[in-house]
Subunit: 445 residues, 2 copies
């Protein structure tokens, strides 16, 4: 993309109402604009990151064998009356009446709707196991929306639902989700720690929240410092293998790690003192096993191997897609702006032309641009007639992990400058070599 | 995808309440399920097609230089009061009140919101021309939703908005959209004819609707038969070229083609009688030029080259993404089911194993599956233990354009059967050759 043809409304001043760094940087980098309280428009740069995150979530869900579909945003109140949640859900549920005076709502979650889909079609245990998921906009009418996309009212979420014949099978689905979530977050450059949590209005016995450590986190968390040494890495997992998924669960949940809701001081104090950590965390996902809580009242049964009808065992599993942008920025920034991990960056590399209008510099930038594009990478080429300082400040603010600076002086020596946003380190090298270097980084990632 | 691990709830019986063929087939093929009146869940197969269509729209929009972003589904009523449309819009607008009693609405369209974004950031004519678009769920509270996704209440739409300094520039944006729409629809295997239309509640002087001819269309259309001979084909267009876009517009709109709203019997009768056609059409898109209708009341001005503030000239341009599934099926089906054009098919090829459990047949199917996957194509492998007749009926119903049938008898002679869904013609050939043949068809498309 050429910046002169893009819409990147970068702000020079820090918006007064933004209290946390991710909110400030998302506004300043022209990623979002508030449309009304807790509701945002995703400007082109923000939209690109949102799509990259969504894409990773899709890929990892499908790698785990989960099937995508899409449920609507608006739901009929009737299904929620069946489950008993219509009245139980508080004022965070946005209740709507249509022109025929029917009670509707903007879905805050989809247990009822997916259970209705399941019960409408699936009759036999032979069709199990099954996990269906979607990525769709949700609405929760927060009384005080704040922190930008971190606690908005309209937000994008991946929510998935497993349907299994037995509790044992459903717990495998739970573990499978835990494994796939670990992979998902690591691909985004995040360490998200599964912590024992409270199930809240979804209900259920087993639940883990995934938390990213950050000073601005909304939850207080307590953990054994050994847990932050764990990496999922690039291990190959057979998601059908009960043993493999169980082993990962045990590895990642055997050490103490809890939110304040489930924190147990006594157990915590048994950890050697130098490993006890009290910190803050941002919730970026949660998995639940809740058995037959919905299948029983809603009649989602299948015929078991013995010919008898049994309610299916279910769980639901969420990733906060839009909130992840905030969490990533909270975890990865400096005082100049955002530092995108390679996995989610809106553009793979920035090209800064120090002397726009100079034939040689323009041609070199164009050649770099074409080189990256031919390799399937997306460069952002700052081809505006601006001073170098302004161009660097914009690139630092929007946080592309790699920048190539092109100027007449370097070109005389046959080199351009490749700079890492994270370390600030620069290196001079021939343009073709710079393209190869950047391409190799992304190919490895 | 292996069918045994997929969720494809095909129905044997024709649903009683579905009046038109696309609605019937989408229900029977397990593509959609009604969640409430005019609101659908997109089951896995339907969701795949929806995503393919969305992808084509994105690609063609960006090829034309238009910039993607994403506006929220819920909007504040305040902006609509500024434009004067809050009260003017009828009961099709879903009005909502949040927990703080603020007036909100589920966006039926986005002129106000995009104009607000524009005016918040853009100050100079130097940032023009600019076209921003998004693909987002909309809601129109139709009094009698029907025909499945063709006239639903919650629907997915691409809506784009151009901002230009002059009427002349804005008309180029209009023409550019017309060109890109022609390309978009052709890639989906559709002939959509631009017809002079009425502007309705969007307002404006110039507008064309794109209509797909189909007996079940909601609009009566009148046209010169010569127009159906026009093809956009694979011509290369420079979207920045005023002349090239203008020439395409003239080519595709110089012959008589109007909806009943703008039909002029006298002009129509000047066409030679044997070329006069009266038919029905399905609207799949519309482009508008409406000048300063929104920019003026909402204060969306830029500084012109002479230093004076001028309101920008705008237009809006929509493609009915979810409704396109219905339109494509109306235009492409037979009595056995859907016939997907290659451009939008949910899977590129179906593999039918005539003898599941037979080692040789299973291995051959797996080899085909791996062969297609390695080439980046998505096969749907019917690996269920079902009779051949049932497998063929399912493949015909869901309409994959190509099917490969694998059975022990053919394998003895080293061949499988490749069948075209459209013509029904079959050919026996070695498996590797079948993979090459199918891959070549998609590479050419």
């Amino acid at each position: 993309m050429r910046l002169s043809r893009y819409f990147l409304p970068v702000l020079k001043e820090t918006p007064a109402d933004a209290q946390i760094v991710s909110h400030r940087y998302m506004l300043r980098a022209g990623m979002i604009k508030q449309a009304s309280a807790g509701i945002y428009s995703w400007l082109p740069l923000g939209y690109r990151v949102l799509r990259r995150i969504e894409q990773i979530v899709h890929e990892e869900q499908q790698r785990a064998g989960h099937i995508p579909l899409l449920m609507p945003t608006l739901q009929s109140a009737d299904l929620w009356r069946e489950s008993g949640r219509y009245d139980a859900y508080g004022p965070e549920m946005l209740r709507i009446r249509d022109r025929h005076d029917r009670d509707m709502l903007f879905g805050p979650t989809n247990e009822e709707l997916i259970t209705d889909i399941f019960r409408s079609y699936v009759r036999s245990y032979k069709d199990l196991p099954m996990t269906l998921y979607h990525i769709q906009w949700k609405f929760r009418d927060e009384v005080r929306p704040r922190f930008g996309v971190m606690r908005g009212r309209e937000f994008l979420m991946k929510d998935g639902y497993n349907f299994d014949l037995t509790k044992e099978d459903a717990l495998h689905a739970y573990n499978r989700h835990l494994v796939s979530y670990l992979r998902t977050y690591e691909r985004m450059g995040l360490q998200a720690i599964p912590m024992r949590a409270d199930s809240g209005p979804i209900g259920g016995d087993d639940t883990h929240e995934f938390l990213v450590l950050a000073e601005t986190g909304e939850s207080e968390v307590f953990y054994d410092s050994e847990i932050t040494d764990l990496k999922f890495g690039d291990r190959e997992i057979d998601y059908d293998s009960v043993e493999q998924c169980q082993a990962v669960l045990e590895e990642f949940t055997s050490r103490y790690a809890r939110t304040d809701e489930t924190h147990d001081e006594e157990v915590f104090n048994r950890i050697p003192e130098d490993r006890r950590r009290v910190a803050r965390g941002i919730e970026v996902g949660q998995i639940f096993y809740f058995g037959t809580k919905y299948s029983e009242p809603m009649g989602a049964t299948v015929q078991g191997p013995d010919g008898k009808q049994v309610p299916v065992h279910m769980g639901s599993h969420g990733i906060g897609v839009s909130r992840l942008l905030g969490a990533i920025i909270e975890a990865s920034h400096d005082d100049k702006g955002i530092i995108w991990p390679e996995g989610v960056t809106p553009f793979h590399v920035g090209i800064v032309n120090l002397k726009q209008g100079d034939d040689e510099a323009d041609a070199a930038c164009q050649a770099l641009y074409d080189g990256f594009t031919a390799l399937g990478l997306d460069p952002l080429y700052d081809d505006r007639d601006e001073r170098a300082g302004g161009k660097f400040a914009t690139m630092d603010l929007i946080g592309l992990p790699w920048r190539i600076t092109v100027g007449p002086r370097g070109l005389k020596n046959g080199v351009v400058e490749l700079t890492s946003r994270r370390t600030g380190e620069s290196e001079e090298l021939p343009p073709e070599e710079a393209v190869r270097r950047v391409a190799a980084i992304y190919a490895a990632g």
